[in-house]
C-alpha cells in the first residue's frame, strides 16, 4: 500500500505543467507539497523535458540507423536504387557544366567571313574589299588571298603533301569583315550580312556568331533536357523512399498501434521513420557521389587525350565541395520529404483498431 501511495504522490510534485486530477486520498497524504520555490521546480521540470526531448531525438536518430543495419539486404537494395537515380542526375549536371565550360572558351565574335566566287580575280577582290571598308558599319576588313590561304592550310592542317598534289588551288579568296562593335543588335548584323550575300562577288557569306549561337542553343537544350530528367529521377527517389518507409511502417504496425493507444502523438510516431528517411537519403547521396567519382575517373583520361589532340586546355570539372554538400542535402531532403508525406497519409489512415 505504501508503494501505491508513493507512486501516485510523486506525480503532483514533479509534473506541475500537466493537466491535474483531484485525488482526495493522495492529496491528503501530501499536505506539504509546496515545499520548494515553485519557479525552481518549473525550471527543473522544463530542463528535464528539454533533455527528454533531445534524448528522444538522439534515440530516434541512432535507433533508425540501427534498424537499417538490422535488415542489410533491403537497405542496400533501396540505397543502391536511389544512388543510381541520384548519380544519373548528377552526371547530367556535370556533363552540362563541362559542355558549358567548353562553349565558354569560344569567344563570341561578330566576324563575318565572305567566301568569294572562284572566277573573281585578286584585283577585283581587292577593289571589293576597299568598297566594304567604306561601309560605315564596318570596323576592319582583312583579305586572305588564295595563296595565303593555301600556305596557312598547308602549315596548320597537316595535309600539306596532299595539297601539293593538287593541280589547282581549290581555296577561295576570303574577306574577313569585322563589323563595328555598336552593331550588337542581331537584326542590324543580319542586314549587313544580307547586303554582303547579295553582292555578285560573294559566293557564300558566313557569320561566325551563328555557330556559337547554334552551340549555345544546343547547350540550352542539353541543360533543359538534363533538368527534366533530373526532376524525373527526383520523383523516382521520392517514390522509392516513400515505398520503403511505407513497408517499414507496415512491419512495425503493432508497435505504432500500441504507441497510439498509450497516447503517442503522430509526431512522436513519425520521428524514427523520418530519421530512417534521412539516413536512406544521406547514404544514397554518399553512394551516388562515389558512383559519379568512378564514372568520372573512367572517362577522364580519354577526354583529356581528346582535348590534347585539339590543343585544348580543357580540364574536366568535377563536383565541388559546395556541389557535393548540395548533392547530400538534396538527396537527404527528398527522402525526408517523401517519408513525411507517406507517414502523414498512412498515420491518418491508421486507426488503433
Amino acid at each position: 500500500m505504501k508503494i501505491f501511495r508513493s507512486l501516485y504522490d510523486a506525480r503532483d510534485k514533479k509534473t506541475p505543467a500537466r493537466p491535474q486530477r483531484h485525488h482526495p486520498k493522495s492529496k491528503t497524504a501530501t499536505p506539504a507539497r509546496a515545499d520548494g520555490p515553485k519557479t525552481r521546480v518549473l525550471r527543473g521540470d522544463f530542463r528535464d523535458k528539454l533533455h527528454a526531448h533531445l534524448d528522444l531525438h538522439a534515440h530516434a536518430f541512432f535507433s533508425s540507423l540501427g534498424r537499417l543495419v538490422d535488415s542489410p539486404y533491403t537497405t542496400i537494395m533501396t540505397i543502391t536504387v536511389l544512388a543510381i537515380a541520384i548519380s544519373l542526375a548528377s552526371v547530367f549536371y556535370i556533363a552540362v557544366a563541362n559542355l558549358q565550360q567548353l562553349a565558354g572558351n569560344l569567344e563570341a565574335s561578330n566576324q563575318i567571313s565572305l567566301f568569294l566566287r572562284d572566277d573573281i580575280s585578286e584585283a577585283s577582290a581587292r577593289k571589293f574589299a576597299e568598297n566594304i571598308r567604306g561601309n560605315p558599319a564596318v570596323q576592319e576588313v582583312k583579305l586572305i588571298t588564295k595563296n595565303q590561304a593555301l600556305e596557312e592550310f598547308q602549315t596548320f592542317s597537316g595535309f600539306g603533301e596532299a595539297i601539293k598534289a593538287l593541280e589547282k588551288n581549290p581555296l577561295p579568296i576570303v574577306i574577313q569583315v569585322l563589323p563595328k562593335n555598336t552593331l550588337e543588335d542581331g537584326l542590324e548584323l543580319e542586314k549587313l550580312l544580307n547586303t554582303f550575300k547579295q553582292a555578285v562577288e560573294v559566293d557564300f557569306a558566313q557569320m561566325d556568331m551563328q555557330w556559337i549561337k547554334r552551340l549555345q542553343s544546343i547547350m540550352e537544350l542539353a541543360r533543359r533536357g538534363s533538368t527534366v530528367l533530373s526532376l524525373l529521377l527526383g520523383v523516382a527517389v521520392l517514390f522509392v523512399t516513400g515505398n520503403t518507409i511505407r513497408l517499414e511502417l507496415h512491419k512495425r504496425r503493432e508497435e505504432v498501434v500500441i504507441a497510439k493507444l498509450v497516447g503517442a502523438t503522430n509526431s512522436f510516431i513519425q520521428r524514427p521513420f523520418l530519421y530512417s528517411g534521412f539516413w536512406i537519403g544521406f547514404f544514397a547521396g554518399v553512394a551516388a557521389w562515389f558512383i559519379v567519382a568512378v564514372m568520372m575517373l573512367i572517362v577522364k583520361q580519354p577526354i583529356e587525350e581528346l582535348s590534347g589532340l585539339y590543343e585544348g586546355d580543357f580540364h574536366m570539372l568535377f563536383l565541388s565541395y559546395s556541389e557535393t554538400a548540395a548533392l547530400l542535402f538534396i538527396s537527404s531532403l527528398l527522402s525526408v520529404l517523401s517519408a513525411w508525406a507517406v507517414l502523414n497519409y498512412q498515420l491518418h489512415k491508421l486507426k488503433p483498431e
Partner: protein, 218 residues
Amino acid sequence: MLKFDKVSKRYPETGDVLRNVSFHLQHGEMAFLTGHSGAGKSTLLKLIAVIERCSRGQILLDGHNVNQAKESQIPYLRRKIGLIFQDYKLLQDRTVFDNVALPLLIAGYGHHEVPRRVRAALDKVGLLGKERKYPLALSGGEQQRVGIARAVVNKPPMILADEPTGNLDPELSAEIMHLFEQFQQVGVTVLIASHDISLINQMNYRVLKLDHGQLVAG
C-alpha cells in the same frame, strides 16, 4: 470522472451497438462492465479511449467532452487513461523495462524520471527484478502485470481494462483483480469489462450490465 449521457453508437454494417447508455462514475470509483459477448462492452471502452466516436450523446472524461476532441487532442486524452487488454498488447521485441517506459517517453519524461517511475510501477505489480526480461519469457499472469504496470506508470486518473483476466486461470485472475482494488484505494477510477460473473460476484463493486446495447443494471 466519467459521465455517459444518452450515448448511442451505430455501425453502418451492424446497426446500433449501444443505445441510450447513461451512467456516471465518480472519482476513485471502481466498477465492472458486464454483459453477454456482443453486448457492446468493448465498444463502450473504445468510445472512452476515443478509438471510436459515438453517434449520439455525450461522453465527459474528467470534464472534457470526448466526442468534441480534435484529432490532435486525442493523444492527450488517452494519457488520462491507462488501457489494459485481454491480449496484453506488449512489444515482444522490447524488454519489460522498455514496454513499461513507453508511456513515459511519449509523455516526455526525462531520463532521471523514467527509470524511477518504471521501477515503482514494476514494484507495485510485483515484477521488480524482471526489467531486463522479454515478455515471451514471462507467464501469462506476469505479462498481464507488465501490461498493468505500463497502464499505471504515467499515473492516469482512470484505468480501463478490457477482459483483463480473459486468458488467466481463476487464481491469477483474483490476483489481478486485487491489484485493481489497490489502485482504486489510492483514488484511481477503475472500469473493468469482464464476463467472468463468478469473479465479479466475489467482489463487492458496482456492476454496469449491458444487454444488446442497453444498460440494464448499474
